[in-house]
């Protein structure tokens, strides 16, 4: 499916959806209405769980908040359903902000567990507040009306549901291809990489969480005005897991997966409701048993879902067209480099204690602008710790790191990159399911400003074009331009390492910090890497690298700093270091 085909496919689908009510009625329409509402809810989970890696069992509770908000306002207060929609969104967003602000700091398995707990708490509240009708629920909810036209039948509300659904699907697809969308997709697989690129992981998580909740709130509003009656039951944990099932079944992480998963589950439910009564008298109870077993089987056998499975058999090519050029192109900001030879990075008395262990002890050195400085030392010398202290991943116990004239104490890890310091990792941290191009485009994150709304509405073309050009330039520089649209996970380790360098370069840094860039590389790859680093130096970039490969370091570095047991053992030009007896002793043992 190429880009030219995509609008045609979407257009055909839209026409099909538009004419269905003319051809069918009753049952099919109701089923499609449910599928539309489920799709909205599942879309939230696709963004949250599939793309962002945040598993939530509480999505159904947000649907409930939206549904109850409009149900209460339109019945007890007699307000217009459109005000109900507004309040439904505002209320779900507010609740999601509070819950998210408290719980999204949690990592790993805590978070999904808390979603179960507050999901159950919200569900139980519906059934116990008298003004919400307790277990009886709220009935006689008015139909939505627009300019006097009442959407009082399934066949009429159908259009509202699918307009919302279509708009949400398109906006989400746009968003995922934008700056913030890349940040969302980068959430899976640990924070360190994202933070090193200037992404405030917590805020991205919170925004996705709120966005998913808002979609659920809208779905709840649609649900309330479709069924004209709300009770607690459809918003319990069982519903929450059903939505998760839809997202996983459709293919969490793909926008179309929301539609496919919602349709598949709705149809399967319907089919089971017809089938099970033939087998047993307890069909209502067995339905959930069958669903539970199917979900377990799905997670056992195929975790990727339907859409990725089908795509394998379609001539599906990634979209390779660049964003269209715009009338007034954007230029990505550049930091003016300091004069060559002036001190870019100054480290003074850097010390780190872990309890009683002094990992880095009173280390001082400088990195001059436009030079390559190497930090070497035997295993356990404190090189990686030093690295993490400089980039802000760890806090100093005492001492000072001054970068481009600015004291870095108190600067958070994701802010360091905007000052002009980019890094790579000892264990390569890429996003294997994103293309090379997207991985490098992530590097431009802090040089660009487009937000969620701009991304969803495609108002970010000019900036996207600039980011695209910059990323392609960096890919070409490291020799990976021909693979720009392949998945990063398919690269060999050596190529992954230079891809990380390209990503660091895309951040437009003054100083590039490389953590063992040559580890695991073959001889030819090392030569190519050394060549690349020399060309960067020639452009005026400064480089600080930690490395074990002595040949690599000695042929490349302008200055070498040797650490041993956390202390600085020696510092100087490569030749002096090689001749230094203390260094020889540290590496080879005493030479008496």
């Amino acid at each position: 499916m190429t880009r030219a085909f995509r609008p045609i496919a979407i257009g055909l689908l839209a026409v099909a959806i538009a004419v269905i009510p003319l051809l069918f009625d009753g049952f099919i329409i109701t089923l499609l209405n449910y599928i539309g509402i489920y799709t909205l809810i599942t879309l939230g989970l696709v963004l949250l769980t599939g793309c962002g890696g945040i598993t939530s069992f509480g999505q159904a509770a947000f649907v409930g908040i939206g549904a109850y908000a409009t149900a209460y306002l339109t019945t007890a207060m007699g307000w217009s359903p459109w005000i109900g929609l507004l309040v439904a969104i505002v209320l779900t967003v507010f609740v999601a902000l509070v819950l998210g602000y408290i719980t999204l700091h949690l990592g790993g398995h805590y978070l999904p567990l808390t979603t179960i707990a507050w999901g159950v708490a919200i569900y139980l509240s519906f059934g116990n507040f008298q003004f919400l009708g307790a277990h009886g629920g709220i009935g006689d909810i008015p139909a939505v009306s627009l300019f006097g036209y009442e959407f009082d039948e399934p066949g009429k509300l159908y259009y509202i549901i699918w307009v919302f659904c279509g708009a949400a699907l398109l906006a989400a697809a746009n968003l995922l291809r934008s700056r913030q969308g890349r940040a969302i997709r980068a959430l899976r697989g640990g924070q360190a990489m994202s933070e090193s690129l200037g992404i405030d992981v917590f805020w991205v998580r919170l925004r996705v969480f709120v966005m998913a909740a808002a979609l659920a709130g809208i779905a709840g509003w649609l649900y309330a005005h479709m069924t004209r009656f709300v009770s607690p039951a459809p918003f319990d944990l069982k519903a929450g897991i059903e939505y998760l099932l839809m997202a996983v079944l459709g293919g969490a992480g793909t926008i179309s997966g929301a539609l496919v998963g919602a349709a598949a589950v709705a149809l399967a439910k319907n089919w089971l409701q017809d089938l099970l009564p033939l087998i047993t008298t307890n069909s209502a109870n067995l339905e959930i048993v069958v669903f539970g077993c199917l979900f377990i089987l799905l997670l056992h056998k195929s975790r990727s879902g339907i859409v990725p499975l089908v795509r394998q058999y379609l001539p599906f090519k990634p979209d390779m067209t660049p964003p269209p050029a715009t009338a007034d192109p954007v230029k990505l900001p550049e930091i003016t480099p300091p004069e060559r030879g002036s001190a870019l990075l100054k480290i003074e008395g850097m010390t780190k204690r872990f309890g009683g262990l002094v990992a880095v002890d009173n280390v001082s050195f400088e990195v001059k602008a436009g030079t390559i400085t190497a930090l070497i030392g035997p295993n356990g010398a404190g090189k990686s710790t030093s690295f993490n202290l400089i980039t802000g991943a760890l806090n100093l116990t005492s001492g000072k790191v001054v970068f481009a004239g600015r004291d870095l104490s108190g600067v958070r890890p994701h802010e360091v990159v905007s000052l002009g310091m980019a890094r790579t990792f000892q264990h390569v941290k890429l996003r294997p399911t994103m293309t090379l191009l997207e991985n490098v485009m992530l590097g431009c994150y802090q040089r660009t400003r487009s937000g969620f709304v701009a991304g969803a509405l495609k108002l970010d073309n000019a900036e996207e074009r600039a980011v695209y050009d910059e990323a392609m330039r960096e890919l070409a520089r490291v020799g990976l331009a021909d693979k720009a649209h392949e998945l990063a996970g398919n690269l060999a380790l050596g190529q992954q390492r230079v891809l990380e360098v390209a990503r660091a370069m895309a951040a437009g840094p003054l100083l590039i910090m490389l953590d063992e860039p040559a580890a695991g590389l073959r001889s030819l790859e090392k030569q190519a890497l050394a060549q690349l680093l020399r060309s960067l130096r020639a452009e005026g970039k400064s480089i600080l690298l930690v490395e074990h490969d002595m040949d690599f370091v000695m042929s490349l570095a302008d200055r070498v700093v040797v650490l041993d047991f956390g202390r600085k053992l020696a510092e100087g030009v490569p030749a002096d270091i090689q001749a230094n007896p203390a260094v020889q002793e540290a590496y080879l043992g005493s030479v008496e």
């Binding site: 890696g53 598993t55 069992f57 819950l99 408290i102 719980t103 700091h105 949690l106 990592g107 790993g108 398995h109 805590y110 999904p112 567990l113 808390t114 179960i116 707990a117 507050w118 159950v120 708490a121 919200i122 139980l124 509240s125 116990n128 899976r188 697989g189 640990g190 924070q191 360190a192 944990l237 069982k238 897991i241 998760l244 099932l245 996983v248 307890n282 109870n285 067995l286 339905e287 959930i288 048993v289 669903f291 539970g292 077993c293 979900f295 377990i296 997670l299 056992h300 975790r303």
Partner: protein, 349 residues
């Protein structure tokens, strides 16, 4: 609130809290060894209570059918995996372990019959019937995906809850079960009566916690389980069979669940779907201990008991909602003071 009411509420809290302590221990045990956040743990507790309740009503408990079904499934899964690994000669042994041994308590139950059982016999049968559920569920549901990310295991556990709670409805019907008290009467302490039932619950919780402690601290098997919990790969390298460790953890946890279910049955009416709610309370307790610390999990469970009993005093309708909402401040506390920011580097996903 008068002082008497306050004391009554505390008493109530200690009773339910003690049961949550047991559950929290089981949950932490399973998580530590297998990384499964076993949300449907409460269902085992419910099955235990429902089984005992059935015996009291002189009915054959549906648990026997569940055990038989699972035993058959587990054997098929095991045989299938042996077949794929070309180890057909091991299939008879698998039949013994996964089909025959779990079926023994079922056979015993049919032999003895469900009529006119004395309390000790029905308690023993209940434990014997619930015990195999743990390893059988592990073999069928979790062992095939033992290396999957924690989140996948969690999703599977949640789906499993719906499957086995749905079956419970089928086996036991929609009505609630509540057994009569094992013991009656109060012990007077300083003019204030403490129900013997409460003393029984608390001492049972204490005894089984102590047994667990001794097991983990002083036996080779217990140490092996701890080793798996600390470092799965390392444990495998020194010759600990991590797969078997998972099954053992589930067996032990099922035993604890059986005890908890028996203790809870006279104090709470248990329905087929009560398991989730009860289990989640154990979970909220475990969160206090970060799933890792047994003592903190126990403290958390007592706190949940307190919140529940005082919550029900002030607003009985909202008591459950209050208990679950309590997870928010608990999580906040962990985040602010304990730094729950434990590794979320899900690089394996």
């Amino acid at each position: 609130m008068t002082f008497e009411i306050f004391l009554l509420l505390v008493q109530d809290a200690v009773g339910t809290g003690a049961i949550y302590v047991l559950m929290a221990l089981g949950i932490v045990l399973i998580f530590n060894v297998t990384r499964v956040i076993f949300v449907s743990y409460g269902d085992l507790v419910a099955y235990s209570a429902l089984t005992l309740g059935s015996f009291e009503l002189q009915r054959m408990p549906g648990t026997v059918w569940l055990v038989l079904t699972l035993a058959g499934l587990a054997f098929l899964v095991e045989a299938g995996s042996l077949y794929r690994r070309n180890q057909i000669q091991l299939i008879p042994k698998a039949f013994l372990y996964w089909a025959i041994i779990p079926a023994i308590p079922v056979a015993l139950t049919f032999l003895i019959g469900a009529e006119n059982l004395s309390l000790p016999v029905s308690i023993l049968l209940t434990i014997a019937l619930v015990l195999p559920l743990g390893p059988l569920l592990y073999r069928i549901v979790f062992q095939p995906i033992a290396t999957a990310p924690v989140l996948v295991l969690l999703m599977v556990a949640v789906a499993l809850h719906f499957a086995i709670a749905g079956l419970a409805l089928l086996y036991f019907g929609p009505e609630g079960f509540r057994t009569s008290s094992f013991v009656r009467g109060d012990v007077m302490v300083g003019g204030f009566g403490i129900p013997q039932q409460l003393i029984l619950i608390v001492s049972a919780a204490a005894v089984f916690s102590a047994i667990l402690f001794v097991f983990f601290q002083y036996t080779v098997a217990g140490k092996a389980l701890r080793a798996v919990a600390i470092n799965r790969e390392g444990a495998r390298l020194v010759g600990i069979w991590t797969t078997r460790a998972g099954a053992v953890a589930f067996l032990l946890a099922a035993g604890i669940a059986a005890i908890a279910g028996i203790l809870i049955s006279p104090t709470t009416t248990i329905y087929y779907d009560t398991g989730l709610i009860v289990g989640l309370k154990g979970f909220v307790g475990s969160v206090v201990g970060g799933f890792v610390s047994y003592p903190l999990a126990a403290v958390g469970a007592i706190i949940i008991g307190l919140i529940e009993s005082f919550g029900s005093f002030y607003s009985s309708a909202l008591k459950e909602a209050i208990v679950f909402a309590a997870i928010i401040p608990i999580v906040l506390w962990r985040w602010l003071y304990v730094s729950a920011h434990d590794s979320d580097e899900n690089e394996d996903e």
